[in-house]
């Protein structure tokens, strides 16, 4: 009995989670990177908490972006190297759904922990406790959108020389809207003003990403496997 596309996608997600937990150290690296970047800013900018608070949205979002770019490198890399990505393409199942499942699992393992641990960095930057909740929500949503967009670029750079740097260069322009609205939402949260506007935009970008990005990523991966 042929497996359905959804069931196949679920198997992919379970497999990825199982693999991740057999090598948990790899998961900590992007997180550590984020923490280090967030701490470097106060060192280099100023120890004054009030001034840091103004810079906090930028620091947090740039840190999240850089950490996500780092993590994006191993979205497809392992599977491309040992030939299992090719298996996905030859399985007769929807590559779009399977890559969407991979991207979601990847976000659960990198983006979501980053969003949940951001309060630590945020408090060090003088962000008021009242703003933390919406900040985490914005980072979670933004990092999810980023994973979706990054998956396209990861697929495109599968066959390329120096793929890592190129991946960052390709993803950065496409991630600017996420950055703009995300940091805007965090800035409003810190100031205590209405965050609905930028959050809705962030949500809209995420929805657009969910509908279109996996299709583009599947096309990119098929080209990358040639």
């Amino acid at each position: 009995m042929k497996t359905t596309a959804l069931a196949a996608a679920k198997l992919v997600a379970v497999r990825d989670l199982r693999l991740a937990f057999r090598k948990p150290s790899q998961l900590l690296q992007p997180l550590m990177f984020f923490m280090i970047v967030a701490t470097l800013f106060p060192l280099t900018l100023t120890p004054e908490l009030s001034r840091l608070r103004d810079a906090a949205p930028g620091v947090l979002w740039i840190g999240a972006l850089l950490s996500s770019l780092l993590a994006l490198e191993f979205l497809f890399r392992d599977d491309a190297v040992d030939g299992t990505l090719e298996q996905f393409a030859l399985s007769g199942q929807s590559l779009t759904w399977m890559l969407f499942a991979k991207t979601c699992t990847h976000w659960l393992l990198t983006g979501l922990p980053l969003a949940l641990s951001a309060p630590l960095a945020a408090l060090a930057l003088g962000v008021p406790v009242a703003a933390l909740g919406s900040m985490v929500a914005a980072l979670a949503l933004g990092s999810f959108a980023l994973s979706l967009v990054g998956a396209i670029c990861a697929g495109l750079t599968l066959g390329a020389r120096r793929g890592g740097v190129l991946l960052s260069l390709l993803t950065l322009p496409l991630s600017v809207p996420i950055l703009v609205f995300g940091s805007d939402a965090t800035r409003h949260a810190i100031a205590g003003t209405e965050i609905a506007g930028p959050m809705y935009m962030l949500g809209a970008i995420a929805v657009l990403g969910v509908t279109l990005a996996p299709l583009a990523a599947a096309a990119a991966v098929r080209i990358g496997l040639e």
Binding site: G159, A160, R162, L170, L172, P173, V176, A216, I223
Partner: protein, 243 residues
């Protein structure tokens, strides 16, 4: 509808001949129109009420900006045609267009920056239109970088095609950003009908738009010839042409 003309454009030797014949005409027309338009804009057009002579940079800035967007769109369409109908010539056209578009984007940013100083008091501001134009430059560079990084030419064509198509999302953002957000950059000036500028200022601008498009056409055809020769260097028609 008879589609043979479309498929003829898909033939590399035909396109080579077409480019060879028409490039000088495009180029000549472009230069002619540019000279007339610049004379009209720099000499004949009156001073602006507020900016005096400083506004005249619009005759280079606005067409450059339009071209930077138009070329990216053309590039994306050519890439899509190449991907869907598997036409090598379309991929070649996309590859040839990218550096031209990138330079127009640089020109837009530089002329805009020079205009910004007298207009707003600053060479740069992080407002939506400027920022998204800068992102456009990064998109061009990313496209060219991806092409360069992939060894296999067919794979490079297809991968960069997907990238170009995905990046098209940015184009409406640039165009409409001045309408959607409170922006430092002025909104679009109406040129025809209920115009915001007098006709003596408008006609040189319209002519410059056309001149820049013809210029793009000329440079594209020249680069396309080189691109086709490079891609098809093993083919017999190339040997005939070069002998």
């Amino acid at each position: 509808m008879n589609w043979t003309w479309f498929h003829r454009f898909g033939s590399a030797p035909y396109m080579y001949g077409f480019a060879q014949r028409w490039a000088p005409w495009f180029g000549g027309a472009a230069v002619l129109l540019m000279v007339i338009a610049l004379y009209g804009g720099l000499v004949l057009a009156p001073l602006d009420y507020q900016q005096k002579d400083a506004y005249r940079i619009v005759y280079v800035h606005a067409p450059s900006a339009t071209l930077s967007l138009a070329i990216y769109t053309t590039m994306a369409i050519a890439a899509a045609v190449g991907l869907i109908w598997r036409m090598k010539v379309a991929h070649a056209a996309a590859a040839a267009s990218a550096p031209i578009g990138a330079w127009f984007t640089v020109a837009t940013l530089i002329t805009g920056s020079l205009w910004g100083k007298p207009m707003w008091g600053t060479y740069w501001a992080w407002d939506p239109r400027l920022t998204s134009e800068l992102i456009l430059l990064f998109l061009y560079l990313g496209y060219m970088g991806l092409r360069a990084a992939i060894e296999d030419p067919q794979k490079a064509d297809k991968a960069s095609a997907v990238l170009a198509i995905v990046g098209v999302v940015n184009i409406p953002i640039i165009k409409y950003s001045v309408n959607w957000w409170n922006s430092l950059h002025q909104p679009a000036t109406r040129l025809l009908g209920e115009a915001d500028m007098v006709w003596s200022m408008v006609w040189p601008l319209l002519m410059m738009f056309v001149a820049f498009m013809l210029f793009y056409g000329a440079v594209l055809l020249i680069r396309l010839r080189a691109e086709l020769l490079r891609r098809e260097r093993g083919a017999s028609w190339v040997r005939e042409v070069l002998s």
